[in-house]
């Protein structure tokens, strides 16, 4: 019984939501930056002077992890785990859990795909280093969807009233 009560605990559910946001978005970014980083390493082995430019490309899929982190942090604050303690009902816990989903899931997928787009951009930069802006722009289009995920997570989070 205590186990079930624990599962229905509002704060547990909120932590779960924060964890989902951080875990999935972080995984997406880790994978995305890795894909872009591997491609960049190949290009750097040919011409090491492009390191600075390629680093920017590798960083692009890293933002999803940050977005997940932002939402997780906000959820933990609202759930009273950080800062002032508050009472959380099971229902509110579930709401906070759900608010973490958008940024987590979209962050995971878009991180990976942005990594692939960035890796393709590495090809542009290694041939024409003055076209960095175009490579960045192509990869940044993918990020739009991570931003939309962040936005919906934030709006949902913002709508949950606690205390």
């Amino acid at each position: 019984m205590e186990f079930l009560e624990g599962l229905a605990n509002g704060q547990f559910l909120a932590i779960l939501g924060a964890a989902i946001a951080v875990i999935f978005a972080g995984m997406g970014s880790a994978k995305g930056t890795s894909i872009a980083g591997q491609a960049a390493a190949g290009a750097i082995s040919e011409d090491s002077s492009k390191f600075g430019k390629l680093l920017v490309l590798q960083l692009l899929p890293g933002t999803q992890g940050l977005y997940g982190f932002i939402i997780a942090f906000l959820i933990l604050t609202k759930a009273g785990i950080l800062g002032t303690a508050v009472e959380l009902t099971t229902g509110q816990g579930f709401q906070l859990l759900a608010s973490g989903l958008a940024v987590g899931v979209v962050g995971y997928i878009s991180g990976i795909y942005q990594g692939k787009a960035a890796a393709a951009g590495v090809g542009i930069v290694s041939k024409k280093s003055e076209e960095l802006g175009k490579a960045i722009t192509l990869a940044a289009i993918v990020e739009t969807y991570a931003l939309l995920g962040l936005l919906i997570s934030f709006l949902a989070y913002n709508g949950v009233n606690v205390g």
Partner: protein, 632 residues
């Protein structure tokens, strides 16, 4: 403030003035020279015009450039010179051919010195190796006479330390009758041993030793003992080192600036030869064509003929976008997308305004703004960029100031480190912030559509302007007014106005969007299909919600940094805050730059901008080390 008009310029002069005239053009840097070399093959003109082939000379000049650069690098390396990050380049000095030749010879000499040094260094390494081979035997005092005895044989050599001396001795004792084995030295890799045996057993002993990978060494010779030999080598090495030192002293930096000037002279000379490749000549004259911004006239000392004419209709000419000092750096953003074509409106001034607003709103922290502005201003002041250089740093200054403004509006100064009462609090007044983002988006988009309308009117397609832009204005405004009450509550009579606007607009669109299609049925389908575009307009508007998202992202990360810093002791706290804020500035500034650019490219340019022009690239001196005063 616009796309400049261009004139075609034709220059005809005598051949003896050719080089001087082209060099003058290069220094002024305002003419883009056309490639006319095909005239020499033209049916009509081929009897008049000749074309020089400078390819060999160009290759030679390229080669010389590489050599001079090599000499410059040698001087810098040998004298451990390093250019400071910011320095003002000396002025370029024009050279005569003779001066250049003699300077080039001196540069070659530097390379020769360096080659000699490299050779000597190799000799040195050689001697050093030989010395290393002798050192283990240093303690062995055997004269050469002993080595040539008839009955007693002495074998010197080394074996890997993997074999124990006892092991070898045991093997020897099994096969060889008379022998003696002695350890001379031992190092990390080898054991150095002396085996003494007699004539009969010599070959036997060698065979046994071979099984242990024994390698014989002939270190004893008649003239000198080992110690003497080592001393001799030391003397040789010292001699070589002296030579190297003397040569090194000859590589002095006093000619460095001259070599740098020579390098620039050579690259200008190469540009000149490339131009000469592209123009045609007759027996005594040359003929050059190119584009020059209208209104600029070349000073003519009456030694050549110069003519200007306006471009013919449909004649393609390079695009020179002329803007104020403030807008010019932002042209690099537009050019990254595409250079405007010669017939369209210059999008740069309006893009600049929105770029600054959006960038500031996304970064939105007064502290970050101050840092960014000061940083960019410092670099711009120190680096002394020439026209067209350092666009990124130049455009960051107004963007930084805008960031300060938005930061104060949102009450963010290094997150919540310095408390300011916000006018809009991004974490609380969420709907206001969202509304503001989308409103800015709608204004941005409407201006883009307005530019489209202006272009259509300029092309005398007034109906297109009314149908494709005007009707959309009505439809979109009406729809927005209809949507607002759902989110933001009642807006009274406006929603009724919205309803009628939307209905009128939509009917108009259905009636007009299919007007190019054939048949009543096609027109209707086209009209309904056109109306469907409303989804893309809505997607565009919602895309501006990224203004809010990035604003939140900057602010929250900054606050998290401050919170973490408060949790630990003050020293660590300051360190953590510094690191988090540094990362956040870099990351958020990059994000703001990227997403602001995207809003311009996709949402704004998508409405009206065609691009596809070729950039005006005037013939210029591309000096690397020296400065040339440009008059244009």
């Amino acid at each position: 403030m616009s796309i400049a008009k261009m004139n075609k310029v034709t220059i005809i002069g005598t051949k003896d003035k050719q080089e001087k005239i082209i060099k003058d053009i290069m220094k002024k840097g305002f003419i883009q020279v056309d490639n006319n070399s095909n005239l020499a093959y033209d049916e009509e003109y081929k009897d008049i015009f000749n074309k020089v082939d400078n390819n060999q000379e160009i290759a030679l000049l390229n080669n010389k450039k590489v050599q001079v650069e090599k000499a410059i690098n040698i001087i810098n390396r040998v004298n451990k010179l390093k250019k400071p990050f910011f320095y003002s380049k000396p002025n370029y000095v024009e050279l005569t051919e003779n001066e250049a030749d003699s300077l080039y010879k001196e540069a070659e000499q530097i390379i020769n010195f360096q080659n000699e040094i490299s050779k000597l260094e190799w000799d040195c390494v050689d001697f050093e190796n030989r010395k290393q081979e002798l050192i283990p035997w240093k303690s062995l005092d055997i004269s050469a006479d002993l080595m040539s005895l008839k009955h007693i044989k002495i074998i010197l050599g080394k074996v890997s330390i993997n074999y124990q001396l006892e092991q070898i001795e045991l093997a020897l004792s099994r096969e060889v009758n008379k022998y003696s084995i002695n350890l001379v030295n031992k190092d990390k890799q080898f054991t150095y041993i002396v085996i003494i045996t007699n004539e009969e057993n010599e070959n036997l002993a060698r065979r046994v030793l071979k099984a242990y990978d024994f390698s014989e060494e002939n270190v004893i010779d008649k003239e000198k003992t080992i110690v003497q030999k080592i001393n001799d080598i030391d003397i040789e090495i010292r001699k070589i080192e002296n030579k190297i030192e003397n040569l090194t002293k000859k590589i002095i930096p006093d000619k460095l600036s001259k070599f740098e000037n020579l390098y620039d002279y050579l690259s200008n000379q190469k540009e000149l030869k490339i131009v000469e490749n592209n123009i045609v000549t007759t027996k005594n004259t040359f003929y050059l064509e190119g584009w020059i911004p209208a209104g600029i006239k070349i000073k003519n000392d009456k030694t050549y003929i110069i003519k200007y004419r306006e471009p013919e209709e449909n004649e393609n000419y390079p695009v020179y976008v002329k803007n104020s000092k403030f807008v010019t750096p932002f042209q690099s953003i537009t050019n990254m997308y595409s250079v405007p074509n010669r017939n369209e409106l210059d999008p740069n001034p309006i893009m600049t305004i929105f770029f600054i607003i959006f960038f500031g709103m996304m970064l939105s922290d007064a502290g970050y703004g101050i840092i960014l502005t000061l940083f960019a201003a410092f670099i711009v002041k120190k680096a002394k960029y020439k026209k067209g250089e350092g666009s990124l740093m130049k455009l960051l200054i107004p963007c930084g100031i805008s960031t300060i403004f938005w930061g104060l509006l949102f009450g963010s100064f290094f997150g919540d480190l310095i408390k300011i009462t916000p006018i809009i609090n991004p974490l609380i007044d969420v709907m206001q912030l969202m509304g503001l983002s989308l409103l800015l988006g709608i204004i941005h988009m409407y201006i883009g559509m307005f530019m489209k309308a202006i272009e259509l009117v300029k092309e005398k397609k007034i109906f297109s302007a009314i149908f494709d832009v005007g009707l959309w204005y009505i439809t979109l405004t009406g729809t927005f007014l209809l949507v607002i009450p759902i989110i933001a509550g009642d807006i009274g009579v406006w929603s009724v106005i919205g309803k009628y606007l939307a209905i009128v607009g939509m009917i108009g669109l259905v009636l007009t969007q299919g007007r190019t299609k054939k048949g009543i049925f096609g027109k209707l389908i086209g009209g309904i299909g056109g109306l469907y575009n409303i989804t893309s307009y809505f997607a565009d508007v919602l895309s501006y919600s990224r203004l809010m998202a990035l604003c939140l992202s900057t602010g929250v990360i900054a606050q998290v940094g401050n919170l973490l810093a408060k949790m630990v002791n003050p020293v660590f706290g300051v360190l953590i805050a510094l690191i988090v804020h540094a990362i956040n500035i870099a990351n958020s500034a990059l994000g703001s730059y990227v997403h602001t650019s995207r809003l311009q490219y996709v949402e704004f340019f998508g409405k009206f901008y065609e691009g596809g022009g070729t950039e005006f690239q005037p013939l210029k001196c591309k000096n690397k080390y020296t400065n040339i005063e440009e008059e244009f």
